[in-house]
Amino acid sequence: MSNPLQIRGEVLDVKRAGSYFVISLTAPGIPETTRPGHFLNIGIGGEESSMLLRRSFAIHQVQMRGMYGGTLDIVVGVNGSGSQWLSERRRHDPLSIVGPLGRPFVLPKEKVSCVLVGGGYGSAPLFMLAEQLRERGCRVDVVLGASTEEKLFGTLHIKRLATTLTITTDDGSSGTQGRVTDVLPEIMEKSDSAVVYACGPMGMLAAVAAVASEKRAHSQCSVEESMACGIGVCMTCVLPVIGDDGVTRMVRSCVEGPVFRGDRVRWSDIGTVPADTWGAPVEGGH
């Protein structure tokens, strides 16, 4: 795998999409090595900023060539002062970018049937994934879910890439009222899917991984953990994951993830250090 780059990019365009913003950037050198599921992080507020921590975003789309060389898109949901600052950028504003980061989705070698599940703007990395799966001849069924219609992302666009698209909203404002996991089992049965790819909130990922396991399908889940560095040095974005040797470790979601096998993450133990974790405190806490 090639090294991530630290570059200065430039904003090309900021577009509103429902509750979100799609930001297009020049990012010389990054699109060439980006694979579906990779992310990047962006410095906030300029060089003197009091917001020291970079914000991480899944890479939504890439374009290798064009008027501006390599460009890419990210999807930003405004939920704090950092994402607010980003949403206020305008054409030609400079941005400090590091990427591509993390371990991407693993693609199947065979032409198997796949289901892609996105929660809210967690659908962002699934577009590139859908394209590449279709190129391999895989059947691609997509399920997008959100609390309400305006929190869905990219439904029209992904419809063109998907064999079928199913939408769920908690309030019934679009598609089926309910959760993605209410419709997932039936879709998996109909399409005889072998792999489920998912990106979205932790609760959704846990539920999707459980459905996949029940259906004896492989699952690949891209997690959203809060990160300070994104490059593997700060140890803040850890979660309990079972390794090939059967041992649970607190692993970094930035470099060992963000994509994990759904059956390896101890979803219900996130936010804790399970007692059988490698190096867990013997007595008391630490």
């Binding site: 090294n3 991530p4 630290q6 410095g43 009091s50 917001m51 020291l52 921590l53 970079r54 400090s96 590091v98 953990e225 809060s226 300070a228 560095c229 490059i231 593997g232 040095v233 700060c234 140890m235 803040t236 974005c237 850890v238 979660l239 470790r249 607190m250 470099v255 996130i270 936010g271 804790t272 250090v273 974790t277 490698w278 190096g279 867990a280 405190p281 008391g284 806490g285 630490h286």
Partner: protein, 341 residues
Amino acid sequence: MTRAVFSPAGQSAAESSPEVDMSTSLGSLELPAPVLTASGCAAAGRELDQFFDITELGGIVTKSVMLQPRSGRATPRMAETPSGMLNSIGLQGPGIDQFIEKDLAWLEQRGARTIVSIAGSNVDEYSKLAQKLRNVPGIAGIEVNISCPNVENRGLVFACHPDSASSVIQAVRRFSDPKMPILAKLSPDVTDIAEIAHSVVRAGATGISVMNTTLGMVINTDTMRPALAGVTGGLSGPAIRPIAVRCVWQIRKALPDIPILGMGGIRTGQDAFQFILAGASAVSVGTVVFNDPSAPIRIQHELAQQLADHGFSRLSDAVSYAHRSADVEILDVDEVEIEVE
């Protein structure tokens, strides 16, 4: 020992203006360059080596390693604060054996100068860590972390009491190679940091690393609970820089001859220059790495530029320069007597 000469940032060596001799020393620890990574902010160097050549730095100070593998604390482990962050990692790490076998071996093969940071729960653990490191190749020095705020018993930060600080340093000194440089890393969370510095120097520390994070806390106003699973955490970043500069200044005043590795919120070469002027012979760059992964090498180049701009041809001439007496003013740096050295 090679003497690296750095040209100011953005210029190639060929077209550089006044070249600055950036070599420095922390006692017997000779360094070709004055910028190191700060413990806990660079893991064991491998990740940052993707962004710049880590062998160009003065050295890599590795994340504090303990005797046994350690899972660290639950999440959330981090909260952003104005110009800084709060962390409560809980010293997650592989334990000393795996550290020696994998991380240290990699650093040695890579050709980096490595300062190994060690942390223990009690004096005996520090002794055992020193024994484990004895006769292991590829170690330029040991930094003894006696000031981590994220320990089991938060009342027992060794660096907060002169006696416990000195008993740890004594133990590490006794079980280490007599020639091994030993830096004691101090906490700012004390009444009189000079008193702690005195006690660790008497116990055998050959230098002082100052400072570790300062204990802080953030309440999440959505959950209306502490933001960190560990409740309190260590505050780092530019927000704490003036505290760190003050600590370096006070220790330099109290102990004119002890080498100081200064750190705390360094973001630019100008920030690093403050630490040098206050009395540090070298500096570590920590939290700012999270903002800019290539910050250590950038800061090293910017520091060379700062020194050149202020008329210094050697970094060592600038060390403690802010302590000079009122009647000494800079005309020609080569002729200026440095008050402390």
